[in-house]
């Protein structure tokens, strides 16, 4: 066994931190824990990973068929059912990631209290696991769209841009929520309520360019980054004739404001986590 090969120099230990142990170790652990979480989910099933595509295909397929055929809801919105399904997939990722973030640190208590562990791995793994299921969900509904005769179009390939911004925004929130909920569990209670409100305040069930929404309200709604992201996804995947949020609310409200919200959320999330991480073990 190869002990005692490196040089032994005393190095100061600065205590627990968000990135304790270096970038390499943080990435190794992030990948390993996320993949493990995802694997365990289907480990006892006969179909295994097939479920991860089959489930969204069938689930969103049911919604699609009901909305499209039974309710005959489409009206003035082209491909309404497809838009709805796409929005639901995006929002489900958002809900799953932030919801899991709340419980993330208490559920990994042994890692925090019994080990030298780069603590940021815990919320990031939550986010990454949710991204993996987002990708499978997208695969499932793309399959559904093709079966339903929508697309495929080359603009589908632009969707990763939406995903990257979405993940940046959600990860900022995941970082904040994971440490804030350790401080006070009221945060978790409040967040559940906020997510429910957001489900209706975000243009998921209806398109943002609905005539019934007053212009000022539209601008406020677009400040929520989920709105422009969903609109852009709609344009690229479902209905290329739909207006962009820039066309609806102008450059400033339609692009600059939501992007600033994304960047601010991410920066604040990281800073808050870095500040709180050393104290997390004591607060649990």
């Amino acid at each position: 066994m190869s002990a005692a090969t490196e040089t032994f120099e005393l190095q100061e230990i600065r205590g627990p931190s968000a990135f304790g142990g270096g970038a390499r170790r943080t990435l190794d652990l992030l990948w390993l824990t996320s993949v493990t979480d995802f694997r365990v989910r289907y480990s006892n099933t006969g179909l295994g990973y097939a479920w991860s595509v089959l489930k969204p295909f069938l689930f969103f397929g049911i919604i699609y068929v009901v909305v499209n055929q039974v309710l005959q809801f489409s009206g003035s919105v082209p491909n309404y059912a497809a838009m709805l399904v796409l929005n639901l997939v995006i929002f489900q990722y958002f809900q799953e990631a932030t919801g899991a973030a709340l419980r993330s640190i208490p559920s990994k208590e042994p890692l925090v209290r019994k080990m030298q562990f780069p603590r940021i791995v815990i919320p990031l793994a939550v986010s990454l696991t949710a991204v993996i299921s987002l990708l499978f969900n997208l695969l499932g509904i793309f399959l559904l769209f093709i079966v339903a005769g929508i697309g495929p179009s080359w603009t589908w390939l632009l969707l990763p841009l939406v995903v990257v911004v979405l993940v940046t925004f959600s990860t900022g929130l995941v970082l904040m929520l994971s440490v804030l909920n350790v401080r006070s569990q009221d945060v978790g209670q409040a967040w559940t309520l906020i997510v429910r409100a957001l489900f209706y305040a975000t243009p998921i069930l209806y398109p943002i360019d609905l005539d019934a929404i007053p212009e000022t309200v539209q601008k406020i709604m677009i400040a929520n980054p989920l709105a422009p992201l969903m609109e852009q996804a709609r344009i690229w995947v479902v209905d290329s004739s739909a207006p962009t949020t820039v066309e609806i609310a102008g450059w400033f409200f339609g692009f600059v404001v939501p992007m600033l919200v994304v960047i601010a959320t991410c920066v604040i999330g990281f800073q808050l986590f870095e500040r709180e991480a050393p104290r997390v073990a004591e607060a649990l």
């Binding site: 002990a3 694997r39 073990a281």
Partner: protein, 428 residues
């Protein structure tokens, strides 16, 4: 830190003065205070309005107070203390679980904390995946962890159970697997908290072997426990933490003595009258010993580390000075092996016919024991009893080592084993 002396040119070569072993852990002025939140206010509306945050002011608890010590490379260092003394907190600060309020910690080489065996095991996964997961958490790279999976499972003796999920493992199997990972992560500094308390005798034996190997590989180990005998067996140096401060540091035997004292004082302070008589006598034995030991000599072995070759009998002499008049003092000794198992206890020996000894008298107690012990580390302890029913008060123990070829078991019995080519007499 060593001073380099150069010989005059021409003679050649450089000489180093004896260099003290390098320091692996250096802790200075460490302090840690916990903030304990106050109880939540009652949920009446009035209380809520008066105190909207729902918390009453908490109190702070100073757990570690100005702790300074160092551990040399390759040293096995024990930290003992009663429950709540701060020993585990100290270990967690060293392991980067808690952040110190004040003070400095420096560590040389890679550190792996084992505050609990099998942290991060996922019950839904088979052994191999958990070995990788746990190994990476303990600091291996994923590549190296994958390479060692077979070796680790083999070491744990779980080759027949690789297809089982961890949730179907018995607790003993889990501990073996976790311990196997621990011994294969190549850490230079190991921190262990009561890890040894979990296993059976076989596990303890395996631990002892592994510790011995770690000693040879110059790995540093810090062992936190409240079992003093564990420290006496495995550590060269120990430290007693009491109420967040270093109470005693040094030879495990001295620390043990002080630890008994602290424990008994605490028991007395808490229990008072109801304290069993035996504990009272133990207090006497420690705080007011019957004899003072002047010298312990293993005959013919005056080196620092007494080593006895195989087959040579164990002879030692203890010189004591009697401190109290005792009507019938009995002296006996016990030998325990590295796993803490008593291998031999002698009957009591007395002075003259009745065993009366007088204060100030100097006695020499001689013993000769046939050496039937396999190579390993042993502890011999002298006990002194005051009267026939008196339990032997604890006194200083001395360690020695039996050297030679390692064989299994607790004793080295005389034996003849041979193999001959088979005759056909078995049939008829």
């Amino acid at each position: 830190m060593g001073v380099l002396l150069s010989n005059p040119p021409g003679i050649g070569g450089e000489y180093h003065l004896p260099v003290p072993p390098p320091v692996a852990i250096d802790v200075s002025g460490l302090s840690k205070t916990f903030q304990i939140p106050g109880p939540r206010a009652p949920f009446t509306l009035r209380e809520r309005l008066l105190n909207p945050t729902g918390r009453t002011p908490g109190r702070s608890l100073e757990v570690l107070k100005d702790i300074s010590f160092d551990v040399k490379r390759g040293e096995h260092f024990g930290i003992v203390g009663r429950n709540g003394s701060g020993k585990s907190t100290l270990l967690k600060v060293l392991a980067s679980v808690y952040r110190a309020d004040r003070g400095r910690i420096r560590i040389a080489g890679r550190l792996a904390p084992f505050l609990e065996l099998g942290v991060g095991f996922n019950a839904e996964l088979p052994a191999a995946d958990n070995v990788i997961l746990n190994g990476v958490m303990m600091g291996l790279s994923p590549r190296v962890a994958k390479q060692r999976v077979d070796e680790i499972i083999d070491f744990a003796g779980l080759n027949d159970y690789t297809d089982l999920l961890i949730k179907n493992y018995s607790s003993g199997m889990k501990v073996r697997l976790a311990f196997a990972v621990m011994t294969h992560v190549d850490a230079d500094v190991l921190l262990m908290d009561e890890v040894l308390a979990v296993g059976d005798a076989e596990f303890q034996e395996k631990c002892a072997e592994v510790f011995e190997r770690m000693r040879e590989e110059e790995r540093t180990m810090v062992l936190v426990t409240h079992a003093m005998d564990t420290v006496a067996q495995h550590c060269e140096r120990a430290m007693l933490i009491d109420d967040g401060r270093i109470d005693t540091m040094g030879d495990p035997d001295d620390v043990a003595e002080r630890y008994y004292e602290v424990n008994l004082k605490a028991a007395l302070a808490g229990g008072g009258e109801g304290l069993p008589e035996i504990a009272g006598r133990m207090v006497d034995a420690v705080t007011d010993p019957a004899v003072a030991i002047n010298a312990v000599t293993l005959r013919g072995h005056h080196e620092e580390k007494p080593a006895i070759p195989p087959g040579e009998s164990i002879e030692f002499e203890v010189k004591v000075r009697v401190l109290h008049d005792i009507a019938d003092a009995g002296f006996h000794f016990q030998i325990a092996n590295g796993n803490g198992q008593m291998v031999f206890a002698s009957p009591k020996a007395v002075l003259g016919d009745e065993g009366a000894v007088r204060a100030g008298e100097v006695l020499a107690i001689n013993a000769e024991v046939e050496n039937r012990l396999p190579p390993g580390r042993y502890v011999v302890t002298l006990g002194v009893s005051r009267g026939p029913s008196d339990p032997a008060g604890p006194t200083r123990s001395v360690r020695f080592e039996v050297i030679g070829e390692r064989r299994g078991g607790m004793f080295d019995l005389e034996h003849r084993v041979s193999v001959e080519s088979g005759s056909e007499s078995l049939v008829g």
